[in-house]
Subunit: 153 residues, 4 copies
Amino acid sequence: MGGFAAQDPGFAERVRASFVRQRFMATLGARLVRVEPGLCELECDQRADLTQQHGYLHAGAGASLADSAGGYAAYSLMPAGSSVLSVEFKVNLLEPARGQRFLARGRVLRSGRRLYVCELELEAHDDGRMRRCLYGVQTLMCLEGQPDDPSRG
Amino acid sequence: MGGFAAQDPGFAERVRASFVRQRFMATLGARLVRVEPGLCELECDQRADLTQQHGYLHAGAGASLADSAGGYAAYSLMPAGSSVLSVEFKVNLLEPARGQRFLARGRVLRSGRRLYVCELELEAHDDGRMRRCLYGVQTLMCLEGQPDDPSRG
Amino acid sequence: MGGFAAQDPGFAERVRASFVRQRFMATLGARLVRVEPGLCELECDQRADLTQQHGYLHAGAGASLADSAGGYAAYSLMPAGSSVLSVEFKVNLLEPARGQRFLARGRVLRSGRRLYVCELELEAHDDGRMRRCLYGVQTLMCLEGQPDDPSRG
Amino acid sequence: MGGFAAQDPGFAERVRASFVRQRFMATLGARLVRVEPGLCELECDQRADLTQQHGYLHAGAGASLADSAGGYAAYSLMPAGSSVLSVEFKVNLLEPARGQRFLARGRVLRSGRRLYVCELELEAHDDGRMRRCLYGVQTLMCLEGQPDDPSRG
């Protein structure tokens, strides 16, 4: 993380408020478990309705979690009154996503004025055993003067 | 598509059976609307529980649909008794995914013995207007002799 | 491609002038063979000093050509007085790059105010036979008011 | 690196022999400066004939170095008598590649029987200052029983 500092002291609250508005995260049963300047972690539990054909977490569900984790890692460093947009992401599926609980982590690698780059990972946790099952890189854009929640200015 | 031929005449049934086992696709409300040798299309409707913070389809939901579409495009060309695995994918989010209905298309660009490459796209359809909102590339692996549904051999 | 129109009537000259300043292109023996709004093609010949360990074109040499082709496809659509920057690119190596001549093509998929997305391909030509050996996607940024050749304003 | 162990005690010599056969590396002036199980570093100097239009290292030259570094990081873990192939790579260009010397590092993230995943980075070094200018992820394949140098069996 290289010691990023948040320019908005209210970054954590801003991230949490945006996370709640991502209704797809509720559909996945995702919880926001950690937010620090340049870092965000989300987790969800294994559930049958999130699986692919072999009973493991669908790669798209894992990528969704990772995309949001990276988005909020970047958003934590953006100014108040801005919003965040994923430009692109790439994920490698290192292992089948087999576990009881999945932890997605986004970490800022590069913080610019407009463009941010994050690394993404997804860990599968199972009875105290952890395996990294997804690794990726994501590019994001900061939209200044476009508040994430337009209804609140 | 370049005139791919399926080596398994039962490819369409095999794809449909696997799609049904992807329970995450049901969670997204996805329907398999087209499968041809080297091509697959899935669609889903706009639903509030699939959205990101601005009310558009979450990039992860779109990527999930695209990942499965590409997976089944490749799987249509694989031999009977095999299964398919996404190795990695990369998606660019060209536009906000705003529409009433979303169509994901996977198309095989390269068909090898083990590795396949697909292009992925997601179209947003809205009152007869269509916009491509996601474009990507995916690498997949064929696991021969590992049937997709182990219970049926 | 997709009916892109150049906003700068001098786009082709501007692209050619920038290409000449890319001295690495001369190192690769690259020639600019086609530039249209949203499209650019570069080619180079097979040369022993561009090879990897098996005697084929090094993936990095092919990716370099493709990166520049995509950059100039996007740059053709940018305003006069701007410059272009690659944000990221991803390439799949579909086949060994075996041939006498290689043609890289960049084509704009999405043209925004700041961000552009291109598809990239590299064809290997050999005695009238053509094989696509690389396929990729690239994100670029337009830097307005930052002329490509600072010495000419 | 996670403590990878090489299965071939002659891995370093095998990597060095293959690097010498990559004639494009000589064209870039690249030197192999470090090889350990799962890790490889290559470096080159700033040279005018490697630049893009603004006088910095061309992204393709940096990506070429990174691609080879990742390839040899993976190759160090492969068995004797095998060869390595890049399946795909994705690079983000974090900063302009401005410096006197460039160091590319490839590090294995995932080592499988056939598929390997590496992270790639390129550092620009300038009067004792270092900036990471490229970050990426790469997928590679091990071809067993296909020696890298066919002439030596």
